[in-house]
């Protein structure tokens, strides 16, 4: 590593693009949150915290915050839980065809989200959906259900798609981390009479813990930002049941054309994401030190 300003010159082209399409827009959003701007009144007028006060007294916005929490919590719990469990299963020494298993498991993750959501929409179809058929054949439901348009099931149905998409990623990352766990240590512990649970706690977990924490935080950030599934499966409906913050912002901006309010809500989403990101940095930094 040399110390020279030359390093910065290499970064200038990328930095210029990022400033134009990311940094400046971000600042623009934060500023716009304090101004009124709608399609009918395109001139910006200063509003102070008025739009924030409006937001936090708006039932739909509060509901979208609650939905975002539910959506993120259940998505991440199941993405991580399933990924972790199946990584442990796949990692066992006697399992053959690991490479094939890995490739097949990655399919949901590489399938474009828009495609994944179209297929799931068709599978959830109320009259001819394969999911209704399978569940009824197994006698798990008495009659076909409209999964995506019933308030009781809509959120769960969208979470299922999000879990399906992301758990393979968790699985592969944890499996890769497991390969770095020292076999000698494990054997030594087993020879000393440690139970599998104890071996896991003392040898395996310390080696993969930081990967697990990073993964959970990344999943949280990705799920907070996820938009395509909700947009394609439910558009935030029925009756705002699945309207997460990203969807709320999109509706405010591009359906109601209330850009000021949408920007204020964007700032809220950005703050939530930034807090999670800061925790993530603390973890990655702690690892390096």
């Amino acid at each position: 590593m040399k110390r020279s300003r030359k390093g910065f010159y290499y970064c200038i082209p990328a930095l210029a693009v990022i400033c134009f399409v990311s940094v400046y827009p971000l600042l623009y959003t934060i500023v716009l949150g304090f101004f009124n701007k709608t399609l009918l009144k395109p001139q910006m007028t200063f509003a102070g915290f008025e739009q924030y006060i409006d937001l936090f007294t708006d039932g739909v916005f509060l509901k979208s915050i609650k939905n975002t929490f539910v959506w993120t919590f259940f998505s991440v719990v199941f993405q991580f839980g399933m990924g972790f469990a199946f990584a442990m299963i796949l990692h066992q020494g006697f399992v053959r065809f690991k490479a094939t298993f890995r490739i097949l498991l990655m399919v949901p993750w590489v399938l474009p989200s828009i495609i994944g959501s179209s297929v799931w929409k068709w599978m959830y179809n109320a009259d001819y959906g394969i999911i209704n058929f399978i569940l009824q054949t197994l006698h798990l439901i008495p009659e076909y259900k409209t999964w995506l348009s019933r308030p009781e099931t809509a959120m769960a149905a969208v979470v299922v798609v999000n879990v399906w998409k992301m758990f393979p990623f968790v699985l592969l990352m944890i499996e890769a981390a497991l390969q770095g766990v020292s076999k000698d240590l494990k054997e030594a512990a087993t020879l000393d009479g440690a139970t599998p649970v104890l071996v896991f706690r003392v040898v395996t977990w310390p080696a993969i813990a930081s990967t697990c924490y990073s993964l959970i935080l990344l999943l949280m950030i990705w799920t907070l930002n996820a938009f395509t599934f909700v947009y394609n499966l439910t558009l935030g409906g029925p009756a705002h049941e699945t309207e997460v913050l990203a969807m709320f912002i999109h509706n405010k901006a591009f359906t109601e054309f209330n850009f000021g309010a949408a920007s204020a809500a964007s700032t809220v989403l950005f703050i939530i994401t930034a807090v999670v990101s800061l925790v993530y940095f603390r973890f990655t930094k702690a690892k390096e030190d």
Partner: protein, 275 residues
């Protein structure tokens, strides 16, 4: 627990989870080759009695679909090339040099991955409107870079650090400039890293939805994901055609992934999780 029982349970669970993972893709293919008369069969069948390519013919004969396909190819190719070029330069700068603010800059790039695109799309809409970039491919290309550059830089910085400096130094003693050394010596060695950035960028740009939805307006600038989404909206009942269109979008990504999956898993674990 006897080992054979454990093995049986393991394989049953693995096959079950693989079934869950790939079933939607299988169902998509299956639906796409079904004639309309078989779409609503009860019980539904995975392999149709009379498979047909009519849905594909229907989809590919629509000029809107072909144009969107072309747009997606152009935009994705441009995003991949620009991302590789800009992230190679920045990744090299950060891997080889320290300068005032270099730590902060690395951190800022890492943070760039975390910015929600829905937060950027409203201001981008106004900015693009002002600069005449709204509803243009070029606008969409640079908007996509907001998401692909940060991750690419993070991945390549860690990759370039694994390339020994002595190699470029030797090349430079022989009279090549540093930039030439980067392109002729470092980049060929870091090929696996470049390939994983390229694949990641390709997948991202190919499936990008939010920017394309809001920053393009006319059918002539539309990308495939948007075409599919409006397609599904126009013909809510024609699931055969929708699934055929979906297959057309999914195939390039699946093909590239199958060819390069080795690089892909490695690169992502380097870039995302190790930080």
């Amino acid at each position: 627990m006897p080992l054979t029982l454990k093995k049986i349970i393991t394989y049953v669970l693995l096959l079950l989870v693989i079934f869950i993972a790939i079933f939607p893709a299988i169902w998509m293919l299956s639906t796409s080759i079904k004639p309309v008369t078989e779409l609503y069969d009860n019980p539904p069948e995975i392999i149709p009695d009379g498979p047909t390519l009519a849905n594909y013919a229907n989809v590919l004969s629509r000029s809107v679909m072909l144009q969107s396909f072309g747009n997606s190819v152009v935009i994705t190719a441009a995003v991949v090339v620009l991302t590789l070029l800009l992230t190679s330069l920045a990744g090299y700068g950060l891997a080889r040099y320290t300068f005032r603010g270099s730590k902060t800059l690395s951190l800022a790039f890492l943070f760039g991955q975390m910015v929600p695109s829905v937060v950027l799309v409203i201001p981008l809409y106004f900015m693009f409107n002002k600069f005449g970039l709204l509803d243009t491919k070029f606008g969409l290309i640079i908007a996509d870079l907001s998401m692909t550059l940060p991750m690419g830089i993070v991945m390549l910085t860690s990759f370039f650090k694994t390339v020994p400096e002595e190699l470029e130094e030797a090349a430079m003693i022989d009279g090549t400039t540093e930039l030439e050394a980067l392109f002729r010596v470092v980049m060929p060695i870091a090929k696996p890293g470049l390939i994983s950035v390229a694949i990641y960028t390709f997948i991202h740009a190919w499936e990008e939805f939010l920017f394309a939805l809001n920053l393009t307006l006319s059918a002539s600038q539309r990308t495939l994901p948007i075409a599919i989404s409006t397609f599904a909206g126009e013909f809510t009942v024609d699931w055969g055609a929708t699934m055929a269109a979906s297959t057309v979008v999914a195939l390039p990504v699946l093909a590239i992934f199958l060819l390069c999956n080795k690089y892909f898993i490695q690169g992502l674990s380097d870039g995302a999780v190790k930080g």
